[in-house]
Protein backbone atom coordinates (compact mmCIF):
# COMPACT_ATOMS: atom_id res chain seq x y z
CA UNK A 1 0.00 0.00 0.00
CA UNK A 2 2.77 2.41 1.01
CA UNK A 3 4.72 1.67 -2.12
CA UNK A 4 1.62 2.31 -4.24
CA UNK A 5 1.11 5.68 -2.60
CA UNK A 6 4.78 6.47 -3.17
CA UNK A 7 4.43 5.53 -6.85
CA UNK A 8 1.35 7.71 -7.11
CA UNK A 9 3.12 10.72 -5.61
CA UNK A 10 6.15 10.12 -7.78
CA UNK A 11 3.95 9.86 -10.88
CA UNK A 12 2.29 13.17 -10.03
CA UNK A 13 5.66 14.82 -9.65
CA UNK A 14 6.74 13.38 -13.00
CA UNK A 15 3.60 14.81 -14.62
CA UNK A 16 4.18 18.21 -13.02
CA UNK A 17 7.83 18.37 -14.03
CA UNK A 18 7.05 17.23 -17.58
CA UNK A 19 4.46 19.93 -18.22
CA UNK A 20 6.60 22.69 -16.73
CA UNK A 21 9.55 21.49 -18.83
CA UNK A 22 7.28 21.46 -21.88
CA UNK A 23 6.30 25.03 -21.05
CA UNK A 24 9.91 26.19 -20.90
CA UNK A 25 10.67 24.33 -24.12
CA UNK A 26 7.80 26.13 -25.79
CA UNK A 27 9.06 29.47 -24.48
CA UNK A 28 12.57 28.81 -25.76
CA UNK A 29 11.49 27.76 -29.25
CA UNK A 30 8.34 29.67 -30.13
CA UNK A 31 9.84 33.08 -30.84
CA UNK A 32 12.60 31.55 -32.91
CA UNK A 33 10.25 29.38 -34.95
CA UNK A 34 7.00 31.29 -35.31
CA UNK A 35 7.53 34.98 -34.61
CA UNK A 36 4.55 37.25 -34.33
CA UNK A 37 3.92 40.95 -34.33
CA UNK A 38 1.44 43.59 -33.23
CA UNK A 39 1.09 46.87 -35.00
CA UNK A 40 -0.98 50.03 -34.60
CA UNK A 41 -1.99 51.91 -37.72
CA UNK A 42 -2.81 55.57 -38.14
CA UNK A 43 -3.83 56.72 -41.59
CA UNK A 44 -3.21 60.34 -40.59
CA UNK A 45 0.40 59.71 -39.62
CA UNK A 46 3.06 60.90 -42.03
CA UNK A 47 5.14 57.77 -41.87
CA UNK A 48 4.10 54.15 -41.98
CA UNK A 49 4.06 52.38 -38.63
CA UNK A 50 6.80 49.82 -38.19
CA UNK A 51 6.83 46.67 -36.11
CA UNK A 52 9.83 45.05 -34.54
CA UNK A 53 11.75 42.99 -37.12
CA UNK A 54 10.84 39.32 -37.36
CA UNK A 55 13.84 37.09 -37.93
CA UNK A 56 13.93 33.34 -38.25
CA UNK A 57 17.27 31.58 -38.33
CA UNK A 58 16.74 28.17 -39.89
CA UNK A 59 19.76 26.73 -38.17
CA UNK A 60 18.46 27.82 -34.77
CA UNK A 61 15.11 26.04 -34.76
CA UNK A 62 13.90 23.68 -32.03
CA UNK A 63 14.95 20.07 -32.45
CA UNK A 64 11.50 18.77 -33.40
CA UNK A 65 10.94 21.40 -36.03
CA UNK A 66 14.44 21.07 -37.39
CA UNK A 67 13.90 17.35 -37.89
CA UNK A 68 10.30 17.30 -39.06
CA UNK A 69 9.36 20.54 -40.77
CA UNK A 70 12.22 22.99 -41.12
CA UNK A 71 11.20 24.35 -44.52
CA UNK A 72 7.86 25.88 -43.61
CA UNK A 73 8.08 29.07 -41.58
CA UNK A 74 5.01 30.63 -40.02
CA UNK A 75 4.86 34.35 -39.33
CA UNK A 76 1.74 35.65 -37.62
CA UNK A 77 0.05 38.90 -36.71
CA UNK A 78 -1.28 38.77 -33.18
CA UNK A 79 -3.21 41.97 -33.52
CA UNK A 80 -3.57 45.03 -35.70
CA UNK A 81 -5.16 48.14 -34.24
CA UNK A 82 -6.54 51.16 -36.06
CA UNK A 83 -5.49 54.15 -33.99
CA UNK A 84 -6.47 56.64 -36.64
CA UNK A 85 -9.71 58.57 -37.01
CA UNK A 86 -10.63 57.19 -40.43
CA UNK A 87 -11.74 53.71 -41.45
CA UNK A 88 -9.32 51.89 -43.73
CA UNK A 89 -9.50 48.69 -45.73
CA UNK A 90 -6.47 46.49 -45.25
CA UNK A 91 -4.42 44.89 -47.98
CA UNK A 92 -1.36 42.75 -47.32
CA UNK A 93 1.61 42.12 -49.56
CA UNK A 94 5.15 40.89 -49.20
CA UNK A 95 7.97 43.05 -50.47
CA UNK A 96 10.84 41.40 -52.30
CA UNK A 97 9.35 37.94 -52.20
CA UNK A 98 9.77 35.08 -54.61
CA UNK A 99 9.15 32.25 -52.13
CA UNK A 100 5.95 30.24 -52.33
CA UNK A 101 3.64 31.53 -49.62
CA UNK A 102 0.34 30.38 -48.09
CA UNK A 103 -1.83 33.11 -46.59
CA UNK A 104 -4.52 32.68 -43.99
CA UNK A 105 -6.62 34.82 -41.69
CA UNK A 106 -9.20 34.41 -38.96
CA UNK A 107 -11.09 37.39 -40.33
CA UNK A 108 -14.47 36.48 -41.79
CA UNK A 109 -14.07 39.08 -44.51
CA UNK A 110 -10.71 37.71 -45.63
CA UNK A 111 -10.33 37.63 -49.42
CA UNK A 112 -7.60 35.09 -50.00
CA UNK A 113 -7.11 36.00 -53.66
CA UNK A 114 -6.75 39.73 -53.15
CA UNK A 115 -5.08 39.36 -49.70
CA UNK A 116 -7.45 41.93 -48.30
CA UNK A 117 -9.88 42.15 -45.42
CA UNK A 118 -12.92 43.11 -47.44
CA UNK A 119 -14.60 45.39 -44.95
CA UNK A 120 -13.85 48.75 -43.35
CA UNK A 121 -11.41 48.56 -40.46
CA UNK A 122 -12.99 51.03 -38.08
CA UNK A 123 -11.16 53.57 -35.91
CA UNK A 124 -10.36 52.12 -32.49
CA UNK A 125 -10.94 48.58 -33.69
CA UNK A 126 -8.43 45.83 -32.99
CA UNK A 127 -8.26 42.72 -35.15
CA UNK A 128 -7.08 39.57 -33.41
CA UNK A 129 -5.02 37.08 -35.41
CA UNK A 130 -5.76 38.85 -38.67
CA UNK A 131 -2.96 37.25 -40.64
CA UNK A 132 -0.83 34.14 -40.94
CA UNK A 133 1.89 33.82 -43.54
CA UNK A 134 3.48 30.45 -44.24
CA UNK A 135 6.73 30.64 -46.18
CA UNK A 136 7.57 27.41 -48.00
CA UNK A 137 11.27 27.29 -48.76
CA UNK A 138 12.10 25.38 -51.94
CA UNK A 139 15.23 23.27 -52.27
CA UNK A 140 17.07 25.83 -54.37
CA UNK A 141 16.95 28.49 -51.62
CA UNK A 142 17.88 26.28 -48.69
CA UNK A 143 21.61 26.66 -48.95
CA UNK A 144 21.54 30.44 -48.94
CA UNK A 145 22.69 32.53 -46.00
CA UNK A 146 19.81 34.93 -46.50
CA UNK A 147 16.73 33.21 -47.79
CA UNK A 148 14.39 36.14 -47.58
CA UNK A 149 14.97 39.72 -46.64
CA UNK A 150 11.91 41.83 -47.09
CA UNK A 151 8.79 42.58 -45.18
CA UNK A 152 5.07 42.70 -44.94
CA UNK A 153 3.39 45.82 -46.27
CA UNK A 154 0.01 46.67 -44.85
CA UNK A 155 -1.74 49.21 -47.02
CA UNK A 156 -5.11 50.85 -47.48
CA UNK A 157 -6.97 49.51 -50.51
CA UNK A 158 -8.73 52.82 -51.09
CA UNK A 159 -5.72 55.13 -51.07
CA UNK A 160 -2.96 52.63 -51.88
CA UNK A 161 -0.92 54.13 -49.04
CA UNK A 162 1.31 51.87 -46.97
CA UNK A 163 0.15 52.13 -43.37
CA UNK A 164 2.59 49.75 -41.75
CA UNK A 165 5.68 47.78 -42.54
CA UNK A 166 6.89 44.65 -40.76
CA UNK A 167 10.49 43.68 -41.60
CA UNK A 168 10.88 39.93 -42.07
CA UNK A 169 14.13 38.08 -42.52
CA UNK A 170 14.70 34.36 -43.03
CA UNK A 171 18.33 33.40 -42.61
CA UNK A 172 20.48 30.35 -42.30
CA UNK A 173 23.38 31.30 -40.05
CA UNK A 174 25.10 27.96 -40.50
CA UNK A 175 25.56 28.72 -44.18
CA UNK A 176 26.58 32.26 -43.41
CA UNK A 177 29.18 31.10 -40.85
CA UNK A 178 30.62 28.44 -43.09
CA UNK A 179 30.90 30.96 -45.91
CA UNK A 180 32.68 33.40 -43.65
CA UNK A 181 35.13 30.83 -42.38
CA UNK A 182 35.91 29.48 -45.82
CA UNK A 183 37.56 32.17 -47.87
CA UNK A 184 37.50 30.09 -51.01
CA UNK A 185 33.75 30.02 -51.09
CA UNK A 186 32.19 33.13 -52.46
CA UNK A 187 29.03 34.58 -51.02
CA UNK A 188 28.23 36.19 -54.29
CA UNK A 189 24.87 35.19 -55.58
CA UNK A 190 23.62 34.06 -52.18
CA UNK A 191 22.73 37.35 -50.67
CA UNK A 192 19.84 39.67 -50.64
CA UNK A 193 17.98 40.04 -53.89
CA UNK A 194 19.31 36.94 -55.60
CA UNK A 195 15.91 35.27 -55.49
CA UNK A 196 14.38 38.05 -57.54
CA UNK A 197 12.58 39.11 -54.43
Amino acid sequence: MQSKVAITILSMIVGFVLIITAGYYRESTMKKEAPNFMVSLNSAAEEAAESWPLTVDLSDLGFTKKVLRPWTIHVRANSITNEGNEPVQLKFSLANNSLPVTWDSRQLAWDKNAKTVARPFLPGESMKYPLSIYFHIPQKYRQQAIIYNGGLEISDVNTGRILAYVPIKLTNSKISNSKTSNSEMSTEGHGEGVCDR
Binding site: M1, K4, V5, I7, T8, I9, S11, M12, I13, V14, G15, F16, V17, L18, I19, I20, A22, G23, Y24, Y25, R26, E27, T29, M30, E33, A34, L61, G62, F63, T64, K65, L68, R69, T72, I73, H74, P100, T102, W103, D104, R106, Q107, L108, A109, R119, E125, S126, M127, K128, Y129, S132, Y134, H136
Partner: protein, 300 residues
Amino acid sequence: MRSFHWFKRLSTIFLGFILFFTPFALLTRLSFWVTGKPGSLATQKASCGDTCLLHPVEWTVQPANWIRFLENPLLLTTFVLVFVAFLFGPLFCGWLCAAGGVPEFLGRIIPNRFKLDLRNSTEPSAIRYGFLVGFVASSFYGLHISCAYCQYATLQDITTAFMAGNFGGINHLTFSAGLITFLTWFVIFGLFTKGGRGWCNYVCPVGASQSIFHWVGAKFGFTYKMRFIPEKCIECGTCAERCPMWAIKMNPGPNRNYHACIGCRECKAACPNRAISYARGVDSEMTLLVPGVVQATGKD
Protein backbone atom coordinates in the same frame (compact mmCIF):
# COMPACT_ATOMS: atom_id res chain seq x y z
CA MET B 1 -24.68 -5.15 -29.33
CA ARG B 2 -21.02 -4.14 -29.38
CA SER B 3 -21.04 -3.04 -33.02
CA PHE B 4 -24.13 -0.94 -32.34
CA HIS B 5 -22.43 0.67 -29.35
CA TRP B 6 -19.38 1.38 -31.49
CA PHE B 7 -21.60 3.12 -34.04
CA LYS B 8 -23.45 5.10 -31.36
CA ARG B 9 -20.20 6.47 -29.95
CA LEU B 10 -18.78 7.24 -33.34
CA SER B 11 -21.95 9.18 -34.17
CA THR B 12 -21.83 11.26 -31.01
CA ILE B 13 -18.13 11.96 -31.45
CA PHE B 14 -18.89 13.19 -34.95
CA LEU B 15 -21.61 15.33 -33.39
CA GLY B 16 -18.95 16.67 -30.99
CA PHE B 17 -16.79 17.50 -33.96
CA ILE B 18 -19.46 19.51 -35.73
CA LEU B 19 -20.46 21.21 -32.47
CA PHE B 20 -16.99 22.43 -31.52
CA PHE B 21 -14.73 22.47 -34.56
CA THR B 22 -14.52 24.48 -37.75
CA PRO B 23 -15.67 24.54 -40.45
CA PHE B 24 -18.88 23.71 -38.57
CA ALA B 25 -18.49 24.99 -34.97
CA LEU B 26 -22.27 24.76 -34.58
CA LEU B 27 -22.22 25.52 -30.86
CA THR B 28 -20.42 28.79 -31.47
CA ARG B 29 -22.61 29.70 -34.43
CA LEU B 30 -25.82 28.80 -32.62
CA SER B 31 -24.81 30.75 -29.54
CA PHE B 32 -23.84 33.80 -31.55
CA TRP B 33 -27.01 33.53 -33.58
CA VAL B 34 -29.08 33.62 -30.40
CA THR B 35 -27.13 36.19 -28.39
CA GLY B 36 -25.29 38.22 -31.02
CA LYS B 37 -21.56 38.01 -31.47
CA PRO B 38 -19.64 39.64 -28.64
CA GLY B 39 -16.80 42.10 -29.22
CA SER B 40 -14.04 41.24 -31.64
CA LEU B 41 -15.46 37.75 -32.22
CA ALA B 42 -18.05 39.38 -34.48
CA THR B 43 -15.49 39.77 -37.23
CA GLN B 44 -13.73 36.43 -36.85
CA LYS B 45 -14.32 32.98 -38.25
CA ALA B 46 -15.80 30.56 -35.72
CA SER B 47 -13.21 28.33 -34.09
CA CYS B 48 -12.82 25.72 -31.37
CA GLY B 49 -11.06 28.51 -29.50
CA ASP B 50 -14.42 30.24 -28.99
CA THR B 51 -15.46 27.38 -26.74
CA CYS B 52 -11.95 26.74 -25.47
CA LEU B 53 -12.01 24.12 -22.73
CA LEU B 54 -8.37 24.52 -21.74
CA HIS B 55 -8.11 28.22 -20.94
CA PRO B 56 -10.81 28.20 -18.25
CA VAL B 57 -8.90 25.46 -16.42
CA GLU B 58 -5.80 27.65 -16.54
CA TRP B 59 -7.75 30.75 -15.54
CA THR B 60 -9.21 29.27 -12.37
CA VAL B 61 -6.22 30.72 -10.52
CA GLN B 62 -6.05 33.91 -12.58
CA PRO B 63 -8.78 36.31 -11.38
CA ALA B 64 -7.60 38.91 -13.90
CA ASN B 65 -8.87 36.68 -16.68
CA TRP B 66 -12.30 35.99 -15.23
CA ILE B 67 -13.63 39.00 -17.10
CA ARG B 68 -13.20 36.95 -20.26
CA PHE B 69 -16.14 34.79 -19.28
CA LEU B 70 -18.31 37.89 -19.49
CA GLU B 71 -16.87 38.77 -22.87
CA ASN B 72 -17.54 35.28 -24.20
CA PRO B 73 -19.91 33.20 -22.05
CA LEU B 74 -19.24 30.19 -24.30
CA LEU B 75 -16.02 29.76 -22.35
CA LEU B 76 -18.16 28.65 -19.44
CA THR B 77 -18.68 25.37 -21.30
CA THR B 78 -15.86 23.89 -19.22
CA PHE B 79 -17.87 24.44 -16.05
CA VAL B 80 -20.95 22.85 -17.61
CA LEU B 81 -18.81 19.84 -18.39
CA VAL B 82 -17.49 19.47 -14.84
CA PHE B 83 -21.06 19.77 -13.52
CA VAL B 84 -22.15 17.02 -15.92
CA ALA B 85 -19.12 14.99 -14.84
CA PHE B 86 -20.16 15.32 -11.21
CA LEU B 87 -23.65 13.99 -11.94
CA PHE B 88 -23.13 11.60 -14.84
CA GLY B 89 -19.38 11.07 -15.26
CA PRO B 90 -17.08 12.67 -17.86
CA LEU B 91 -19.51 12.03 -20.70
CA PHE B 92 -17.95 14.74 -22.83
CA CYS B 93 -14.69 12.76 -22.93
CA GLY B 94 -16.36 9.48 -23.76
CA TRP B 95 -19.07 10.64 -26.13
CA LEU B 96 -18.33 14.07 -27.60
CA CYS B 97 -14.62 14.81 -27.54
CA ALA B 98 -13.38 14.49 -31.11
CA ALA B 99 -9.77 15.04 -30.06
CA GLY B 100 -10.00 11.88 -27.97
CA GLY B 101 -12.34 10.00 -30.27
CA VAL B 102 -10.50 10.45 -33.55
CA PRO B 103 -7.27 8.69 -32.49
CA GLU B 104 -9.28 6.10 -30.55
CA PHE B 105 -11.40 5.10 -33.54
CA LEU B 106 -8.71 5.49 -36.18
CA GLY B 107 -6.40 3.46 -33.96
CA ARG B 108 -8.78 0.52 -34.18
CA ILE B 109 -7.70 0.07 -37.78
CA ILE B 110 -4.15 -0.66 -36.65
CA PRO B 111 -3.53 -4.19 -35.33
CA ASN B 112 -2.81 -4.39 -31.61
CA ARG B 113 0.56 -6.05 -32.15
CA PHE B 114 1.92 -2.73 -33.42
CA LYS B 115 0.73 -0.80 -30.37
CA LEU B 116 2.23 0.19 -27.06
CA ASP B 117 0.58 -1.45 -24.10
CA LEU B 118 1.20 0.82 -21.13
CA ARG B 119 -1.72 -0.33 -19.06
CA ASN B 120 0.29 -2.12 -16.40
CA SER B 121 3.53 -0.18 -16.50
CA THR B 122 2.55 3.31 -15.37
CA GLU B 123 0.06 5.22 -13.25
CA PRO B 124 -1.62 7.39 -15.88
CA SER B 125 -4.19 9.02 -13.60
CA ALA B 126 -1.54 10.20 -11.18
CA ILE B 127 0.64 11.53 -13.99
CA ARG B 128 -2.39 13.31 -15.46
CA TYR B 129 -3.18 15.00 -12.14
CA GLY B 130 0.44 16.07 -11.98
CA PHE B 131 -0.01 17.53 -15.43
CA LEU B 132 -3.17 19.30 -14.32
CA VAL B 133 -1.41 20.90 -11.34
CA GLY B 134 1.51 21.88 -13.57
CA PHE B 135 -0.86 23.22 -16.22
CA VAL B 136 -2.64 25.46 -13.72
CA ALA B 137 0.62 26.46 -12.04
CA SER B 138 2.37 27.20 -15.33
CA SER B 139 0.91 30.69 -15.44
CA PHE B 140 2.85 31.53 -12.27
CA TYR B 141 6.03 30.65 -14.14
CA GLY B 142 5.01 32.91 -17.04
CA LEU B 143 4.53 29.95 -19.35
CA HIS B 144 1.82 29.74 -21.99
CA ILE B 145 1.08 26.10 -22.46
CA SER B 146 -2.56 25.76 -23.40
CA CYS B 147 -2.44 26.98 -27.00
CA ALA B 148 0.94 25.52 -27.95
CA TYR B 149 0.14 22.02 -26.74
CA CYS B 150 -3.54 22.09 -27.67
CA GLN B 151 -4.89 18.86 -29.11
CA TYR B 152 -8.18 20.53 -30.06
CA ALA B 153 -6.52 23.23 -32.16
CA THR B 154 -4.21 20.66 -33.73
CA LEU B 155 -7.18 18.56 -34.79
CA GLN B 156 -8.97 21.62 -36.10
CA ASP B 157 -5.93 22.82 -38.03
CA ILE B 158 -5.53 19.46 -39.72
CA THR B 159 -9.18 18.82 -40.55
CA THR B 160 -9.73 22.37 -41.76
CA ALA B 161 -6.67 22.10 -43.97
CA PHE B 162 -7.92 18.81 -45.40
CA MET B 163 -11.38 20.19 -46.08
CA ALA B 164 -10.10 23.41 -47.61
CA GLY B 165 -7.23 21.76 -49.48
CA ASN B 166 -4.93 24.23 -47.74
CA PHE B 167 -2.15 21.91 -46.62
CA GLY B 168 0.43 24.67 -46.39
CA GLY B 169 -1.45 26.39 -43.60
CA ILE B 170 -1.51 23.89 -40.77
CA ASN B 171 -0.49 26.15 -37.92
CA HIS B 172 0.34 23.53 -35.30
CA LEU B 173 2.66 21.68 -37.64
CA THR B 174 4.95 24.67 -38.03
CA PHE B 175 6.52 24.88 -34.57
CA SER B 176 8.16 22.37 -32.25
CA ALA B 177 5.53 22.39 -29.50
CA GLY B 178 2.76 21.85 -32.05
CA LEU B 179 4.66 19.06 -33.73
CA ILE B 180 5.26 17.41 -30.36
CA THR B 181 1.53 17.67 -29.65
CA PHE B 182 0.66 16.06 -32.97
CA LEU B 183 3.20 13.28 -32.53
CA THR B 184 2.23 12.43 -28.97
CA TRP B 185 -1.53 13.05 -29.08
CA PHE B 186 -2.26 11.55 -32.47
CA VAL B 187 0.57 9.23 -33.43
CA ILE B 188 2.38 7.72 -30.44
CA PHE B 189 -0.31 7.94 -27.73
CA GLY B 190 -3.15 7.77 -30.26
CA LEU B 191 -2.80 5.45 -33.20
CA PHE B 192 0.01 3.41 -31.71
CA THR B 193 -1.14 2.97 -28.12
CA LYS B 194 -3.67 0.41 -27.00
CA GLY B 195 -7.04 2.07 -26.57
CA GLY B 196 -5.95 5.10 -28.60
CA ARG B 197 -6.40 7.45 -25.66
CA GLY B 198 -2.91 7.74 -24.28
CA TRP B 199 -3.10 11.54 -24.45
CA CYS B 200 -6.39 11.50 -22.53
CA ASN B 201 -4.84 9.11 -20.02
CA TYR B 202 -1.60 10.95 -19.37
CA VAL B 203 -2.03 14.57 -20.37
CA CYS B 204 -5.46 16.10 -20.90
CA PRO B 205 -6.18 18.75 -18.24
CA VAL B 206 -9.81 19.00 -19.35
CA GLY B 207 -10.34 15.30 -18.72
CA ALA B 208 -8.42 15.46 -15.45
CA SER B 209 -10.58 18.27 -14.10
CA GLN B 210 -13.71 16.33 -15.03
CA SER B 211 -12.35 13.18 -13.44
CA ILE B 212 -11.91 14.91 -10.09
CA PHE B 213 -15.57 15.90 -10.13
CA HIS B 214 -16.62 12.45 -11.25
CA TRP B 215 -14.61 10.87 -8.45
CA VAL B 216 -16.27 13.15 -5.90
CA GLY B 217 -19.72 12.70 -7.49
CA ALA B 218 -19.39 8.92 -7.49
CA LYS B 219 -19.39 9.00 -3.70
CA PHE B 220 -23.03 10.09 -3.74
CA GLY B 221 -25.99 7.83 -4.39
CA PHE B 222 -27.85 10.20 -6.70
CA THR B 223 -25.08 10.30 -9.33
CA TYR B 224 -24.59 7.95 -12.25
CA LYS B 225 -21.53 5.74 -12.51
CA MET B 226 -20.29 2.46 -13.94
CA ARG B 227 -21.17 -0.34 -11.54
CA PHE B 228 -20.14 -3.95 -11.36
CA ILE B 229 -22.33 -6.85 -10.27
CA PRO B 230 -19.81 -9.32 -8.80
CA GLU B 231 -22.15 -12.32 -8.73
CA LYS B 232 -22.58 -12.05 -12.51
CA CYS B 233 -18.89 -11.48 -13.28
CA ILE B 234 -17.09 -14.48 -14.77
CA GLU B 235 -13.71 -12.69 -14.57
CA CYS B 236 -13.10 -13.05 -18.29
CA GLY B 237 -11.29 -9.70 -18.48
CA THR B 238 -13.09 -8.55 -21.62
CA CYS B 239 -14.09 -5.25 -19.98
CA ALA B 240 -10.48 -4.47 -19.04
CA GLU B 241 -9.32 -5.36 -22.53
CA ARG B 242 -11.89 -3.11 -24.21
CA CYS B 243 -11.62 -0.08 -21.92
CA PRO B 244 -9.86 2.63 -23.96
CA MET B 245 -8.89 4.48 -20.77
CA TRP B 246 -7.36 1.47 -18.98
CA ALA B 247 -9.75 2.22 -16.13
CA ILE B 248 -10.38 -1.44 -15.32
CA LYS B 249 -7.82 -3.90 -14.05
CA MET B 250 -8.39 -7.56 -13.25
CA ASN B 251 -7.36 -8.63 -9.73
CA PRO B 252 -8.78 -11.26 -10.31
CA GLY B 253 -12.18 -9.56 -10.70
CA PRO B 254 -12.53 -6.11 -12.27
CA ASN B 255 -11.24 -3.10 -10.32
CA ARG B 256 -12.44 0.20 -11.72
CA ASN B 257 -10.72 3.52 -11.46
CA TYR B 258 -13.05 6.51 -11.36
CA HIS B 259 -10.10 8.80 -12.05
CA ALA B 260 -9.79 7.33 -15.53
CA CYS B 261 -13.34 6.27 -16.38
CA ILE B 262 -14.93 8.44 -19.08
CA GLY B 263 -18.35 6.79 -19.01
CA CYS B 264 -18.04 5.50 -22.56
CA ARG B 265 -19.64 2.20 -21.55
CA GLU B 266 -17.40 0.15 -23.80
CA CYS B 267 -17.04 -2.23 -20.83
CA LYS B 268 -20.80 -2.55 -20.48
CA ALA B 269 -21.23 -3.26 -24.17
CA ALA B 270 -18.39 -5.79 -24.15
CA CYS B 271 -19.41 -7.73 -21.05
CA PRO B 272 -20.72 -11.14 -22.15
CA ASN B 273 -22.64 -11.66 -18.91
CA ARG B 274 -24.12 -8.21 -18.37
CA ALA B 275 -22.21 -7.81 -15.14
CA ILE B 276 -21.70 -4.07 -15.68
CA SER B 277 -24.31 -1.37 -15.56
CA TYR B 278 -24.42 2.40 -15.74
CA ALA B 279 -26.67 3.39 -12.91
CA ARG B 280 -27.23 5.44 -9.77
CA GLY B 281 -26.60 4.15 -6.27
CA VAL B 282 -24.24 4.37 -3.33
CA ASP B 283 -20.83 2.99 -4.07
CA SER B 284 -19.37 1.93 -0.77
CA GLU B 285 -15.87 1.22 -1.97
CA MET B 286 -13.91 3.66 -4.04
CA THR B 287 -10.69 3.01 -5.81
CA LEU B 288 -7.79 5.24 -4.96
CA LEU B 289 -5.63 6.76 -7.66
CA VAL B 290 -3.93 3.42 -8.08
CA PRO B 291 -6.31 0.83 -9.50
CA GLY B 292 -6.11 -2.43 -7.70
CA VAL B 293 -6.01 -1.01 -4.19
CA VAL B 294 -9.69 -1.71 -3.62
CA GLN B 295 -11.64 -4.38 -5.37
CA ALA B 296 -15.08 -3.55 -6.66
CA THR B 297 -18.03 -4.92 -4.78
CA GLY B 298 -20.76 -3.31 -6.80
CA LYS B 299 -23.21 -2.91 -3.93
CA ASP B 300 -26.46 -1.46 -5.25
